[in-house]
């Protein structure tokens, strides 16, 4: 549709609106990675000896590992692991007594991002943990949650206040030697969120963490640990942004979820790290390990993700279905525009009997984007009557992009039933024509079609997020049809 090219060009040139930088005094550890740095991070955070030991074990193991380079559609430059500040935190004037004492500069940053830290201003029913570079700067609604026995705090605080829980579960789903980036994270992780929901409690509000990378030449290595005890329920949301820069920044996080008997965890992500500019300069390398364990019977873990940002996204939120009758779900929308690359998907490991999993993945490629779904469905021998349904659809917009689907299906039990379906197609000209005929602009038509394409996934997002995600999809793809 050549007539629309002008508006399209205009629209693609729209800036990443979260790309500003907050000028704030930060303290950083020197660049580089060695045991001394790890000891420093651990000391700054006032950690117990066992955690330092664990970090050092991870670091020593990391040294023996090789950076994964085998993914054919993920290409990136050398990462100099010695050229990164592994810890950067806004300077604190004095210890915080309450939320009101958060540095006004940081407060303004989060307000600009639409995440006010004053509780009264917040959308009712969402508690936020705000992570700025390497530290958590504020957590709202803590007291209210505490009344129910729910622990929602920064990881550092959890280490101080609930060491027994952290010690019991840390690394129990993603061990420190799991993969290259998980090992790196285990060695240098700075902050993140910690959630514990006691037995039988249904968390009355959405818990949410907002991650912000601000400082230059740093990486963000946060770690999230969520434990849902017997019969409890929690819904957790995660959002993120970063300033626009020409160099790439590394984000290597680890998320561990544990659901005990009849517990349910719903984990939603709207990932909007800086994707780089139109020529593919800059942007975040988002190399994340996310995994949940359905330890108990009839437990459930559900991942929903909308991936629109990052120069490279590389993550496979997975579920280990150990408990009998447990359920795993994965709903994903991944958008790659310009020179973005995404390799994402899930692993569903069926161990228990009657375990069920559903995978719905929608990939959208535009510009020079490369979008890969890579997933594993593994039915172990004992997983009698396990059931999996996977659906992976890709939408291609423009002839320079790529869409790839690489499922792995391994079945070791004859009573299992596994179905996988995938399709790749172009955004239908007839569909656009139909909308245009009814007076919609091409842009609106594309938006509508894309939203329709993703609906199955977006429906699974909590309401506040669904609105934001729909908006984001529109913005990420604006101007990609022509």
């Amino acid at each position: 549709m050549p007539t629309d090219t002008a508006t399209i060009t205009q629209l693609t040139q729209r800036e990443y609106e979260w790309g500003f930088y907050t000028d704030i005094e930060e303290e950083k550890v020197p660049k580089g990675l060695n045991e001394e740095i790890i000891r420093t991070i651990s000391r700054l955070k006032g950690e117990p000896e066992w955690l330092l030991e664990w970090r050092l074990r991870a670091y020593r193991h990391w040294l023996t590992m090789e950076e994964p380079r085998w993914l054919p559609n993920i290409r990136y430059g050398q990462i100099d692991y010695q050229d990164i500040h592994y810890y950067a935190a806004p300077k604190r004037r004095k210890p915080l007594a309450s939320l009101d004492e958060v540095d006004p500069e940081i407060r303004r940053t989060f307000e600009k991002l639409g995440i006010p830290l004053e509780e009264q201003k917040r959308l009712a029913g969402v508690a936020v943990d705000a992570v700025f570079d390497s530290v958590s700067v504020a957590t709202t609604y803590k007291e209210k949650l505490r009344e129910l026995g729910i622990i929602f705090c920064s990881f550092s605080e959890a280490v101080r206040e609930h060491p027994e829980l952290v010690r019991q579960y840390l690394g129990s789903v993603v061990p420190y030697n799991d993969n290259f980036f998980a090992a790196l994270n285990s060695a240098v992780f700075s902050d993140g969120s910690f959630v514990y929901v006691p037995p039988g409690v249904r968390c009355p509000m959405e818990l949410s963490t907002y991650f912000r990378i601000n400082a230059r030449e740093t990486g963000q290595f946060e770690r999230t640990l969520i434990i849902a005890d017997r019969g409890s329920y929690v819904s957790y949301l995660e959002g993120c942004t970063a300033p626009m820069r020409d160099e790439n920044q590394l984000h290597a996080a680890v998320v561990e979820l544990i659901a005990l008997d009849e517990a349910e965890i719903k984990y939603s992500t709207v990932q909007n790290w800086y994707p780089g500019d139109k020529e593919g300069r800059g942007g975040i390398y988002n190399f994340v390990t996310k995994r949940g364990a359905c330890r108990g019977r009839r437990s459930k873990i559900s991942w929903t993700q909308v991936e629109t940002g990052s120069a490279i996204t590389w993550k496979y939120p997975s579920v280990i279905l150990q408990g009998d009758d447990s359920v795993g779900e994965f709903y994903s929308v991944a958008v790659t525009n310009n020179y973005q690359q995404a390799d994402t998907g899930t692993k569903m490991i069926h161990i228990g009997r009657n375990t069920r999993s559903t995978i719905v993945s929608k990939g959208i490629s535009a510009g020079h984007g490369q979008n890969t779904y890579r997933g594993l469905v593994k039915i172990m021998k004992g997983a009698a009557y396990a059931r999996n349904y996977s659906q992976c659809d890709s939408l291609l917009i423009g002839d320079k992009c790529g869409a790839h689907t690489m499922p792995y299906i391994e079945v070791r039990n004859a009573t299992a039933r596994v179905e996988h379906e995938a399709s790749t197609s172009k955004i239908g000209e007839d569909q656009i024509f139909y909308c245009r005929q009814r007076g919609l602009s091409t842009e609106d038509a594309v938006n509508m079609i894309v939203n329709g394409f993703c609906k199955q996934v977006l429906l699974n997002l909590p309401m506040e997020f669904a609105v934001e995600a729909q908006k984001l999809l529109g913005i990420s793809l604006e101007g990609s049809v022509g």
Binding site: H404, I409, T424
Partner: protein
């Protein structure tokens, strides 16, 4: 104990000595090619499990043995159905017959004759589609093959009689004997033919490592059948490389029944517009058989169609593997590709690994793949039971029906009847040949 690298070295030395002992006068370029392939194999070695293409198929037991040439065979029985037939026994062409009246439309030569009479043709078309420099087993075959069958169908002709190539492997004793059959099928512009390739024989420690190259020039049409019924312990690794020019069509049917460790590779390149490729696959595995079907369809040119349907039935401790990649090159617009892979698991000890892949670099395409793994459908069983059919028979009928979808697409009657009877007998059902005798006297 020898290191693997020493064994590959010994293997190549053995075969080089063996090949020197023959009197075939190969064109110099092909001789150089053998040398390069031997170097490639020495460099690549046997694939390891960490190699993504061999993730589910472990060939380490191949590397334990220094494979030797199988000795010549004296007698072999010739199938009775009518065909233009060539028999390769233990890697040598031992019989050619039935060309008769077709002699001016099709030529079928062994390696010796092709080197003498058609050196120019070989220079131009030999080794053109096989990726021997990247694939360890293709390199091994290219370095070690001792004889070959070269089929050439002349432009514009249609060969109505099936061309049958029978590969018979009969090792003398269980001592690790290999044969390296090699076939080139070349269809000139606008020609049509049907080729049936069948594999039989083998024993506890034998290895069939073959390459089939198929080149279809413009508007050529080939019906191709590969039926593998070797001994249940034989190792069978055969790569089929296919190149389709503009407007040509291939209908391939790959049926695996025998073999202990089986790897069928099918590598198709659609290089001209409007090419059509259909791949139908069926494998039945029981005992401890391991059957790996590895297919790759490359859409290089725009406007091509590919259709792929693979079905597997696994019982006992059998292990089935399916890898199917559809690769759409940039610019291959209007590609229409469909891939389906279905596996039926009949035993709790059977395993299946499926890896369907789409890799797409063009936007105006329609590509889909579907994979299912499961048991027989309870509702279908119930339906048959309500009609008074015993549980066992209902089960057998459904298994037969599952496989029949592929077998019914085989257009060479003797091959289809034989497979149908085999399957019916296996499932304890009345033989169709008997029914046919009753219905069609």
């Amino acid at each position: 104990m020898l290191k693997t690298s020493e064994r590959t070295g010994d293997l190549l030395d053995n075969w080089a000595a063996f090949l020197r002992s023959r009197s075939v006068d190969e064109p110099p370029s092909l001789r150089r090619c053998r040398q390069a392939a031997a170097e490639a194999f020495a460099r690549l070695g046997y694939p390891l499990k960490k190699n993504e293409d061999w993730k589910y198929t472990n060939v380490s037991r191949l590397a334990q043995i220094v494979w030797n040439p199988a000795p010549p065979i004296e007698r072999i029985s010739i199938p009775d159905w009518e065909a233009i037939r060539t028999i390769i026994a233990n890697g040598r062409v031992v019989y050619r017959g039935g060309v008769g009246e077709w002699g001016d439309k099709v030529s079928i030569d062994d390696w010796d004759r092709a080197c003498k009479m058609h050196a120019n043709f070989l220079e131009e078309h030999w080794n053109q589609v096989a990726r021997w420099s990247q694939h360890p087993f293709a390199a091994l075959n290219t370095a070690c093959f001792q004889d070959a069958v070269i089929i050439r169908v002349k432009a514009g002709h249609e060969i109505n009689l099936p061309i049958h190539i029978l590969m018979h492997h009969q090792p003398s004793i269980n001592t690790g004997q290999a044969c390296f059959p090699r076939i080139l099928i070349y269809l000139e512009t606008g020609s049509r033919a049907t080729v049936v390739e069948s594999y039989q024989g083998g024993d506890e420690a034998s290895f069939t490592c073959g390459i089939v190259e198929i080149i279809l020039e413009r508007f050529a049409h080939l019906d191709y059948y590969k039926v593998q019924q070797e001994d249940e312990h034989n190792i069978h690794i055969v790569q089929t490389y296919i190149r389709l020019a503009q407007g040509s069509e291939l209908r391939a049917h790959i049926v695996s029944l025998g073999g202990g460790l089986v790897r069928n590779e099918c590598d198709v390149q659609l290089t001209g517009e409007q090419g059509v490729c259909t791949l139908n696959g069926l494998y039945l595995a029981h005992g401890r058989q391991h059957v790996d079907n590895h297919t790759e369809i490359e859409h290089v040119a725009p406007g091509c169609v590919s259709f792929e349907l693979y079905k597997g039935i696994l019982s006992d401790r059998a292990h089935g593997v399916f890898h199917g990649k559809i690769y759409v090159h940039p610019g291959a617009q209007k590609t229409d590709a469909k891939q389906t892979n279905q596996a039926l698991l009949l035993s709790d000890d059977a395993e299946v690994d499926s890896k369907p892949q789409l890799e797409i670099y063009a936007d105006d395409v329609r590509c889909t793949h579907g994979a299912t793994v499961g048991q027989l459908d309870d509702r279908q069983l119930f339906y048959l039971r309500t009609r008074g059919i015993s549980a066992e028979q209902a089960r057998n009928l459904l298994i037969y029906g599952f496989a029949e979808e592929i077998i019914s697409r085989i257009h060479v009657a003797p091959v289809r009847y034989q497979l149908e009877d085999l399957l019916l007998a296996q499932e304890g059902l009345p033989l169709e040949s008997e029914l046919r005798r009753v219905i069609l006297p």
